[in-house]
């Protein structure tokens, strides 16, 4: 009778409970002959005791027994077995449907009618053994899944902590920001970053990575690093977006990208600048006016550097005006009927509640109510930014105390550009870059550029090349000036421009001194009046610009050396 069916050759422990001694003996014989171990019980109470001692794999249980019948015993045995599947086969001489059904209702798995047919008995034992093994496998796999899931949750928790340390060094707690973001949002791809600019104002970025889980979280790390690093160094919104775009394009596989909206709040000028690529349109509430700001750029991480478009919108924002950003979770929130919340409903909420001070909560409520009970509310990302006086933000302006942002305070450099190099190299960007290493000066990069550019241009064009700005008196003269510049610069020999830059830090600011010397003939600087020329003069503004930005402009020698002081306060 050997069978190859899974598990049938294994010795099973089988408990036989029957108050009839001869029936019990017959059954025991049949089962033993089939190679199984047996234990016997004489009634229900005995069956429960033997069950605990013997730990059988399968129980054969007579329905009608003294002290405790099989039905009661079956219930207790199932209770004792707990999660394990211990198949119970009722032994019964009853044959009416109701009694047989009662056997199964009590927790029995099958029944076997007396007199016993050994072939059927064996087939049933084998079948239930297969079920028992399947059940065991199922339990083991369930436990494995639970364990893996626990493991993953622990890992996500650690990853989240790391991410929080990177991403949430910013100022999301500022009084002008309200946001809704799932605690594990990084794993559904949503990122919200906010950081104050050193010169005042604030950058906020909401990003939504394609995909979920690890790929999204990995992309969010460099995004956060670049955002915070560059914002606190004073970089402009466009520069940051370009850098992020390039970085994400490099690291993310094709098809993965980051839909984003970045805003710069200028609290002083009550202005907002918005770049929006791939995220749903955002809304600006200006007084009682609602303005939809259309998403008009490609997401970050798609276009090559030079093709990336960092152009932005600019809007006036009075104190109390608000702007709302969200990822597609809100628009795509689905109710029990499978309908999406959609942009129409969202716009309606805005139109109905424009004067409502807590519009943010109204929107949240509407979406949650729409989804009804049990909606996946952890996928909703919503941000409200309010324009208010900067001093009311309620956050410490501590960007300069952050490690690494102190930068060099006391330094000096000398740079000399000679002969033909004057024709092929423009040192201004290089000098600007060195000066920008002083964190406090980063926010003044426009002024710094103009000062360095004026000084160097004067030294080169008026000094070394001997060009006179009077040439620039007419449009044609202007062109002639630059033609001559081009011509003379090719024939230089033995000339130079020396630039000497010093910076001295003070408690909350510093002085930058720039000295420029050229190999030209100089000029009569006594005649300089530093006044701005009229609108018909195309030239002569350089010195006036220098005088207005620098605390000292001094000429030396025959006019071929100039030294300026630029004082700044944090």
């Amino acid at each position: 009778m050997a069978s190859s069916v899974l598990g049938s050759q294994k010795t099973l422990k089988i408990l036989i409970a029957d108050d009839n001694q001869s029936d019990r003996m017959i059954l025991q014989n049949i089962v033993k002959k089939q190679g199984h171990d047996t234990a016997t019980a004489v009634d229900g109470v005995d069956a429960i005791e033997k069950f605990s001692e013997f730990r059988p794999d399968i129980v054969l249980l007579d329905a009608l027994m003294p002290r405790m019948d099989g039905f009661e015993a079956a219930r207790k045995i199932k209770l004792l077995a707990g999660e394990d599947l211990i198949p119970i086969i009722f032994l019964t001489s009853l044959s009416d449907a109701e009694s047989l059904a009662k056997c199964l209702e009590a927790g029995g798995d099958d029944f076997l009618s007396k007199p016993y047919n050994r072939i059927i008995l064996q087939a049933k034992i084998n079948a239930f053994n297969r079920m028992r093994i399947m059940h065991k496998t199922l339990l083991r796999q369930r436990d494995q899944i639970a364990e893996h899931n626990d493991h993953m949750m622990r890992e996500q928790q650690v990853a989240k902590t790391v991410f929080d340390n990177v991403a949430h060094v910013g100022c999301l707690g500022a009084n002008n920001i309200k946001h809704l973001l799932s605690p594990l949002a990084v794993f559904n791809g949503d990122v919200l970053l906010a950081c104050q600019k050193p010169s005042g104002g604030m950058h906020v970025l909401l990003g939504d990575f394609t995909g979920h889980g690890l790929p999204a979280a990995i992309g969010a790390m460099p995004l956060a690093e670049i955002f915070y690093g560059m914002t606190s160094k004073g970089y402009a919104l466009g520069d940051i977006l370009r850098e992020v775009n390039q970085k994400l394009r490099k690291i993310l596989p094709v098809g993965f990208f980051c839909c984003a909206c970045m805003a710069e709040l200028n609290f002083e000028q009550e202005e907002i600048e918005i770049w929006i690529g791939g995220l749903p349109d955002c809304y600006l509430v200006q007084g009682d006016q609602l303005l939809k700001v259309a998403s008009n750029r490609l997401p970050l991480g798609i276009l090559k550097g030079e093709a990336f478009d960092a152009r932005t919108y600019r809007f006036e924002m009075k104190h109390g005006d608000r702007v709302y950003l969200w990822s597609d979770g809100i628009v795509e929130a689905t109710n029990a009927k499978g309908e999406m919340f959609g942009e129409k409903r969202l716009q309606q909420v805005f139109e109905d509640n424009l004067q409502e001070p807590n519009l943010f909560e109204k929107i949240r409520r509407s979406v949650v109510d729409f989804m009804g009970e049990g909606g996946p509310s952890d996928d909703l990302t919503l941000v409200e930014l309010t324009m208010m006086p900067e001093k009311e933000l309620g956050i410490e302006n501590n960007y300069l105390t952050n490690t690494g942002l102190k930068g060099p305070q006391h330094w000096r450099m000398a740079y000399e550009l000679c002969s033909d190099s004057l024709a092929v190299f423009d040192p201004v960007p290089l000098l600007l870059q060195i000066v920008m290493e002083v964190p406090g000066l980063r926010t003044r990069n426009g002024e710094m550029f103009t000062i360095l550019s004026e000084l160097y241009t004067n030294a080169l064009e008026h000094g070394v090349l001997g060009l006179h700005s009077k040439l620039k008196a007419s449009p044609d003269g202007f062109a002639e000036y630059y033609r001559l510049r081009e011509e003379r610069i090719r024939q230089l020999d033995g000339h130079f421009v020396k630039v000497d830059v010093r910076h001295k830090g003070a408690v909350a600011g510093g002085v930058l001194t720039i000295r420029v010397e050229d190999s030209g003939k100089g000029f009569d600087y006594q005649k300089l009046d530093g006044k701005l020329p009229g609108p018909t003069c195309y030239s002569g503004r350089g010195t006036a610009l220098l005088l207005s930005m620098c605390s000292r402009v001094e000429y030396f020698g025959q006019g071929n050396i100039v030294e300026v002081d630029y004082e700044w306060q944090a």
Partner: protein
């Protein structure tokens, strides 16, 4: 540095966009942009959204455009300047000569 232009649908306005640093190196390109064979136009718009810095030679170039476009009657609007660019324009009193938005 690059300069691009576009015309309004009614051909009345020429928009000149300046990307990056606006200094002497843009002179020829800027001049080519406004000395359009189809010009002069009624109005000019200088879009400085992506202009990072400018210096005094750029100021000169703006004045060249102003004269080309009719001097005191020129209608030129400079838009979307960043704070640094605006500061330079302000120091030079260019608000008196251009509409700066």
């Amino acid at each position: 540095m690059s300069i691009t232009t576009s015309r309004s649908d009614d051909n009345a306005e020429l928009t000149i966009r300046i990307k990056g640093r606006f200094d002497f190196s843009s002179h020829q390109e800027f001049r080519d942009a406004y000395e359009n064979p189809e010009g002069p136009f009624e109005q000019y718009k200088i879009d400085m959204t992506e202009t990072t810095y400018l210096d005094s030679s750029a100021l000169g170039m703006l004045l060249l455009l102003r004269d080309y476009a009719g001097g005191d009657n020129a209608k030129i609007c400079i838009t979307n300047c960043n704070n640094d660019v605006r500061k330079i324009l302000t120091i030079s009193n260019f608000e008196q000569l251009f509409v700066i938005q």
